[in-house]
């Protein structure tokens, strides 16, 4: 009932204001929510241009495309809350995707990477990618906190290390950099199969996994000491340290958790796309960072909500789909995406300055 009470309070405040204050209130309201208003207009516009935009299958498609991008965005958001960033995310997704694919190729597949390997049980593979992602994340966090390096530099370096390992991995056993595909049916079903249909349109399973990840991350961010510490360190590391927060441990944990999320993304992407090469995951971090920033996870540090990240991810995907439904030229798509990120950041910074 809290949001409802909030709205009531706001409404009461609004009634107390005089006309000038009211005008100001609405101006602020419009600017603060301009992104959502623009999004709403964009959805309406696309819908009137092409009615199929809001058909069941199209809406489910937008939800699934967003769900696939949720884990990586939730992971990277934590590093942004710590005023950092993570450039290694995409490559970790690539490495874990290729590892998942290699462990779960059908035994009958002609060019199986490890011909003698049986289909590994799925829970074991999930554990493996989470551990691998976690270890790389741990290394990131460790170097950042131990050597007091900027996360940009550390993850720039680990990104290269991971890419090199990935290139070696796809060359092993005479695979010669060929795409890893021919995945086992159980794996494909586990990810892109469906247990629920709406109006005959199946909802792929990875949507549920995305939702589970979001729920877990929401719990970690809002209900645990670790989550509170993360925001404390992000707002002011010195102050957090003085008040007894273990800054180094928090940093390491945030990055480790992020790494685990990339592992999960890799596991989902491998089966969703069905073909995995050394290029899998390339530039994924950029979309994820953009989604976080659009959703109000600020590079200033210490602010951000899971709700915002989900909105950011969905917004980016809606834009992608809408531009396709409107048959907008590819060149224009870059410009539109760039402008959206710029506007989102400007609004975000404005809020921060006002608060200050």
């Amino acid at each position: 009932m809290k949001p409802f009470a909030n709205i009531q309070n706001q409404y009461a405040d609004l009634k107390k204001m005089n006309s000038k204050e009211k005008l100001n209130f609405w101006k602020e309201f419009l600017i603060d929510n301009s992104l959502y208003i623009l999004l709403f207009i964009a959805i309406l516009y696309t819908y009137f241009q092409n009615h199929r935009f809001l058909s069941t299958s199209s809406v489910i498609n937008m939800i699934s495309l967003s769900a696939a991008n949720l884990p990586i965005a939730c992971g990277i958001a934590g590093t942004i809350v710590l005023t950092g960033t993570d450039l290694s995310a995409g490559r970790i997704v690539g490495l874990t995707a290729c590892m998942s694919a290699a462990s779960l190729q059908a035994v009958t597949y002609a060019t199986k990477m490890f011909p003698n390997l049986p289909v590994v049980p799925i829970p074991l593979v999930i554990l493996m990618v989470i551990v691998v992602g976690g270890i790389i994340g741990f290394l990131n966090g460790f170097c950042i906190s131990r050597f007091k390096l900027h996360p940009f530099i550390v993850t720039l370096a680990t990104q290269l290390v991971v890419y090199g390992s990935l290139l070696m991995f796809v060359m092993v056993n005479g695979n010669n950099g060929q795409p890893l595909s021919g995945l086992d049916d159980s794996y494909k079903k586990f990810i892109s199969g469906s247990i629920l249909k709406i109006k005959g349109v199946p909802i792929p399973n990875y949507v549920w996994y995305g939702i589970i990840v979001v729920a877990i991350m929401w719990f970690i961010w809002n209900k645990t000491t670790f989550g509170k510490n993360m925001f404390a360190v992000g707002s002011n590391a010195e102050a957090a340290n003085v008040s007894g927060v273990n800054v180094a441990r928090t940093t390491i944990l945030v990055h480790t958790l992020a790494g685990c999320m990339y592992g999960i993304t890799g596991f989902i992407e491998a089966a969703r796309i069905g073909s995995n090469t050394a290029n899998t995951g390339l530039n994924y971090e950029l979309d994820a960072i953009a989604a976080c920033v659009i959703g109000g996870v600020s590079f200033v540090g210490g602010t951000g909500k899971i709700r915002g990240i989900v909105m950011g991810v969905i917004l980016l995907r809606i834009i992608f789909v809408a531009l396709n439904f409107l048959s907008v030229n590819a060149n224009m798509q870059y410009i539109i995406k760039g402008l959206i990120i710029l506007v989102a950041c400007a609004i975000d910074m404005r809020k921060y300055l006002v608060r200050k």
Binding site: V170, S181, A248, I273, G274, T280, N283, A330
Partner: protein
Amino acid sequence: MKKFRKVLSVLLVSAMAMSLVACGSSSDSDTSDKTESTSDANIGVFYYSYSDTYISSVRTALDSALEGAGIEFQDYDGNSNQTTQNEQIDTAISQGVTALIVNIVTSGSADASQAIIDKAETAGIPVIFFNRAVAPDGEDGDVLGSYDKCAFVGTDAPEAGHMQGQLIGDYLVKNFDTVDLNKDGSISYAMFKGQEGNVEAIYRTQYAVEDANKVLTEAGKPALVYFDSSNTDGYQVDQDGNWSATAANNYMVTNLAQYNESNGNMIELAICNNDGMAEGVVSALNDAGYNTGSGKMIPVFGVDATDAAKSLIKAGKMVGTIKQDAEGMAACIAALAKNTVDNKDIMDGTDSYTISPDISNKIYIPYATYTGE
């Protein structure tokens, strides 16, 4: 905890140092081993990107071909960056390489390739370009003719497009009525382009449709129709320029959300610039219940004949692809490299290859269609 961290950081640093030492010593021993067995020939091989699937198979084949010929060589990864590649070439020349084998990053740019030829000419060493075009179509004679110790081994960029178009046309003439799902008398297609501004992508995108239409018209059938009439480009392109399965998959699932059988406007044919994109499309179709090996199938065509695509074709999930002969190309490059080592003319003994009619030092490795038969 504190002690643990100290120990861990010491371990980390020492591990890094160890790996550096290990790398250094192993390459040292490599060089000394090889210099004993061969002459002072040492060739630099420059790849545009290690992550490219097709180039990876050329790399494996070329590595073993050069090793087999007893030629010492070193591989470089240009990482899709022409500046990086130029710097690698400069470094290699200053180290004293005796020949360059270059898979140029900026495909189809006469300036980029001329710059490399100039470097080679100044150093007085031969240069063999391969796979990626050295100049826009029809202008490569000027570049290749500017230096007598240079050669090009590649494919005729438009050929893959022509062959793919022919393959699609033939398939459609045979199966027109099954492919035309909504029975409107014409076939709607989707086209997935690998990269903007790449000659191979441009020709494949153009000729695959043009040639297929030619075959269809000759057989008295209507031409192909692009599924989205408001898209004037007539294709969807990987915005990162990676020819990636992910891009094709994202486009295809989005397309299928509004173009499907229940709306009576299903995409009836998918043409892809390479097999990676074809795989992404097949995966999207699988999710919608098509191309599972039995039941309804939307014909999907690619280029490259990767192992993955061949398996899809064998499983009946994809129709055909155009084979790029990685081994053939590697063998030809290795033969030319051997010529440079033996101080023969660079084009010595290449009569068995298809040589361009206009340019005497341009060798074509032909494409071949692959439909699983």
